[in-house]
Amino acid sequence: MQAANTVLIEEAEPATHTNAPPKVSARDVCVYYGDKQALFDVDLDIHAHQVTALIGPSGCGKSTFLRCLNRMNDTIDICRVEGRIVIDDEDIYARHVDVVHLRARVGMVFQKPNPFPKSIYDNVAYGPRIHGLASGKDELDDIVETSLRRAGLWDEVKDRAAEPGTGLSGGQQQRLCIARAIAVQPEVILMDEPCSALDPIATARIEELIDELREQFTIVIVTHSMQQAARVSQKTAFFHLGVLVEEGDTEQIFTTPKDDRTQAYITGRIG
C-alpha cells in the first residue's frame, strides 16, 4: 500500500498541460449504424489528467463517440467508423493495431455495474491475469489490494474478497468495476454514465473517486446529469443530434456557452 500512496503524493498536483499535445485526438469521426449516420465529423481533443465530460440529450451520439475510443463498437456488426482517432501518436483504427492491446490501455466502466459471476478477488484479478501483469500470487494480491483501495472499496470488502462480486450493493459493484478497470493499469478510462443506476450517496462516492483518479488517469465520462458534469469535469463537450456542438472548459460551457443549442440544453429547454 505504500507504493500507491507515494504515487498519489507524487501526482497530487496534476499539471493541466494546456500546451502539451492531447492524449487523445479525434478528427472527422463519423459513425454509421447500417445506413444510419450517428456521428457527423467530430473533432475533439482530450487532455491527459483531466476529466472530460460528454453531455447531450439521449441519442445525441455521446456514448457512440465514447465507444469509438476503445473500439467497443467493433462488437456491433453493423457499425462502421470513419475518421481518425489518435492516442499518443498512434492511430487506433490503423490496420496493425490489436484491439486487445488497445483496450488494455483504454479501460471502460459501464452504465450498469457488470461484475463477473466470480469472487470479488477474481473480478479484480481478471485483467491482470489475462495480461500477465503479475508474476506471482503475492504480486497479484498487491495489484488487487491496490486497485480496490484506489477504488475506495478495500475497507468494505477486505474480509470477504472470496465472496461473489454480484452479492455487493449497486454502488459497491460499480466501484468494483472501477477497481477491475484500473487493475489493468490503463492510461485512459472511459465511463459510460457510471452513476445512472446508483442512488445519490453512491453517486457522490463515485464522483469523489473520479476526481481522485484523474491524478493518475485520463478520464472521459458520458453523463446525463449536467450537475455531475459541472462537478467532476475540467472539460466539457456538448453533443446534439450526432454533432459536436461545442467543447471547452467546463466553467465556460456552463456559464458562457457560445452556441445557442448549448445554452438551450444547459438551461433545460432542449433534451
Binding site: 467497443m72 456488426d77 486487445v100 490501455r105 471502460m108 457488470n114 459471476p117 466470480k118 481478471y126 489475462i130
Partner: protein, 460 residues
C-alpha cells in the same frame, strides 16, 4: 339417426342459442348495449353454454354407458341356457351377435336364434340413438329457454362465462395430471405384484438377469433370475458413451452458434442441427445397426481388436449423435442469455473473445449448461429404439465398450413382445423396470430443472 347428425344438431342449436341470447340481451336493454352489465356477446355465450354444455355432456355420458346397458339388455333377452354360459363363451356369443348385426363374418352358423338376437341388438341400438337424440335435443332447447328467461340487463353474463372458461382450463390441465398419476399408479401396483414374487433386494442388487421362468419343472436354463444391476449398468454405460459424444460436440456447437457465428450462419445452422432431433429414433436405430456397427467391427478387425457386431460403442455413439441437438440447442439458449454487459465488460478489459468465453461466459452459463446436459442424460436413459436395434440382449456386466450390453428399455421391450401371460414374474418385471427407469429420469429431470431455474433467477 347417426351420432354425427345428433352432434351437428346440438352444435347448430348452440349457435342459435348464441344469437338468441345476444339479441335478447339487446332487446332487454332497449337496444342500448351500454345499459348491459356485460358486452352483448357474453349474453350470447351465456345462452350457448346453457344450451350446449348439458346436452353435450349428456351425449358423452350416454355414449360411455350405452354399450354396457345395451349388452345387459341383450343378455337378458337370450335363452336361459345361454345366460348360464361362462364369461368367455358368453363373450364369444355376444361378439358373434354384434358381428352378425354389423353384417360381418361370424364364427358359427347363423341360426334363427342368432339372427333374432342380432335383430334385437340392432333395434336396441336404434332405440338408444333415438332416445339419446330426443333427450339431448330437449336438454338443449330447455337450456336455451331457461337461459333466455334469465337475461336482464343487470345479469353478470361475463363473470359466468369467464368462470366456465376457467373451469374448462382446469379440466384440461387436470386431465394431463391425472393421466400421469394414473400411469404411475399402474406402474406401482404392477411392480408391487412383481415384488410379491421376487424380493426387491434380489431385484435391486442381483447381478444376474435371466428372466426366463420355467414352464416345466425339468426345463434347462430357465432359472428366472431378476437382478437389475446389469441392466442399469448397461443403461448407464451406453448413456455415458452417448454423453461423451454429445456433451463436447453439442457444447462446442452451442459456443460456435452463440458467440462466433454471424446471425445469418446461425439462422441456418441452428435449424439444421435441430433437424437431427426430428429424425425418428428408429432411423437412428437401423443406422446404428446396419452402418455404424459393421463399420466399427471392420475397423476393429483391421486393428486387431475384437469388436462385437452389437457393441455398446455403436449404440452409444449413435445415441450421442441423436442427443447433440438437445445439448446444443439448450446450451445455445443459456449462453445467449448471458447478459451482453458481461461480454463488453470483459472486452473492455482487453480480453480476447476466447478468454471471455472461457472465463466469463461459460462460468456464467454453467448452471444452465449443466441443466441441459442432465436433460440430455435423462433422454439417453429412456431412449429405446436405438438400443433395441444396436445394443444386444445379453445382460452382461462389463465396462468393455466393444462388447454387447443390454439396457433397461431393451429388456422391457423383449419382456413384453410376443405372447405373454400377464401374471408371471417375467412380464411383471417389465413394470418394475419401468418404475425404476421412471424414478431415475424423474430425479434427473428435477435436478436439471432446479439447476436451470436457479440460473434464471440470477439474471432476470
Amino acid at each position: 339417426m347417426s351420432l354425427s347428425l345428433i352432434l351437428g344438431t346440438l352444435s347448430i342449436l348452440t349457435a342459435i342459442g348464441f344469437y338468441m341470447g345476444r339479441s335478447r340481451a339487446l332487446v332487454s336493454a332497449d337496444g342500448d348495449s351500454h345499459r348491459l352489465h356485460s358486452r352483448p356477446h357474453y349474453y350470447g355465450y351465456y345462452v350457448a353454454i346453457w344450451c350446449g354444455l348439458p346436452s353435450i355432456m349428456f351425449f358423452g355420458l350416454w355414449l360411455a354407458f350405452e354399450p354396457n346397458i345395451v349388452t345387459s339388455l341383450l343378455i337378458d333377452s337370450l335363452p336361459a341356457a345361454q345366460q348360464q354360459l361362462g364369461d368367455a363363451e358368453l363373450g364369444l356369443l355376444l361378439n358373434d351377435i354384434r358381428n352378425l348385426a354389423r353384417g360381418d363374418v361370424t364364427s358359427r352358423e347363423a341360426g334363427p336364434e342368432l339372427m333374432a338376437a342380432a335383430g334385437y341388438y340392432n333395434s336396441l341400438l336404434q332405440t338408444s340413438k333415438l332416445v339419446l337424440a330426443a333427450i339431448a335435443a330437449t336438454l338443449a332447447v330447455a337450456g336455451i329457454t331457461f337461459a333466455r328467461t334469465r337475461i336482464v340487463p343487470e345479469m353478470r353474463a361475463r363473470n359466468f362465462v369467464e368462470k366456465v372458461t376457467m373451469a374448462a382450463l382446469v379440466v384440461c390441465s387436470t386431465i394431463a395430471i391425472l393421466t400421469t398419476i394414473g400411469i404411475v399408479i399402474s406402474l406401482l401396483f404392477e411392480s408391487i405384484r412383481f415384488f410379491q414374487k421376487v424380493s426387491p433386494i434380489d431385484f435391486l442388487f442381483g447381478l444376474e438377469w435371466s428372466p426366463q421362468t420355467a414352464l416345466r419343472k425339468d426345463q434347462v436354463g430357465a432359472t428366472g433370475l431378476f437382478g437389475a444391476v446389469p441392466l442399469l449398468a448397461g443403461t448407464m454405460f451406453i448413456s455415458l458413451i452417448a454423453m461423451c459424444v454429445a456433451a463436447p460436440v453439442g457444447l462446442l456447437a452451442a459456443i460456435y452458434m452463440s458467440e462466433y457465428a454471424s446471425p445469418r450462419v446461425r439462422a441456418w445452422v441452428k435449424p439444421a442441427l435441430e433437424i437431427l432431433a426430428g429424425i425418428p429414433t428408429v432411423v437412428y436405430g437401423f443406422f446404428a445397426a446396419l452402418t455404424v456397427a459393421p463399420f466399427l467391427r471392420g475397423t476393429g478387425a483391421d486393428l486387431g481388436v475384437d469388436i462385437s457386431s452389437e457393441s455398446a460403442l455403436a449404440a452409444g455413439a449413435v445415441m450421442g449423435i441423436m442427443i447433440i441437438p438437445f445439448v446444443s440447442s439448450l446450451s445455445d439458449d443459456v449462453i445467449r442469455a448471458v447478459p451482453q454487459s458481461l461480454r463488453e465488460g470483459s472486452y473492455g478489459l482487453g480480453a480476447t473473445q476466447s478468454e471471455t468465453i472461457k472465463q466469463v461466459i461459460i462460468p456464467a452459463a454453467l448452471p444452465g449448461i449443466v441443466g441441459s446436459l442432465l436433460l440430455a442424460v435423462s433422454r439417453a436413459i429412456g431412449e429405446t429404439m436405438i438400443v433395441v436395434m444396436a445394443a444386444g440382449l445379453a445382460a452382461k456386466l462389463t465396462i468393455n465398450p466393444f462388447e454387447a450390453v443390454t439396457t433397461v428399455t431393451v429388456q422391457i421391450v423383449t419382456l413384453l413382445v410376443g405372447d405373454q401371460e400377464f401374471d408371471s414374474a417375467k412380464t411383471l418385471a417389465a413394470f418394475a423396470l419401468g418404475l425404476m427407469l421412471f424414478c431415475v429420469t424423474l430425479v434427473l429431470n428435477v435436478i436439471a430443472l432446479t439447476v436451470v431455474n436457479k440460473y434464471r433467477e440470477q439474471y432476470d
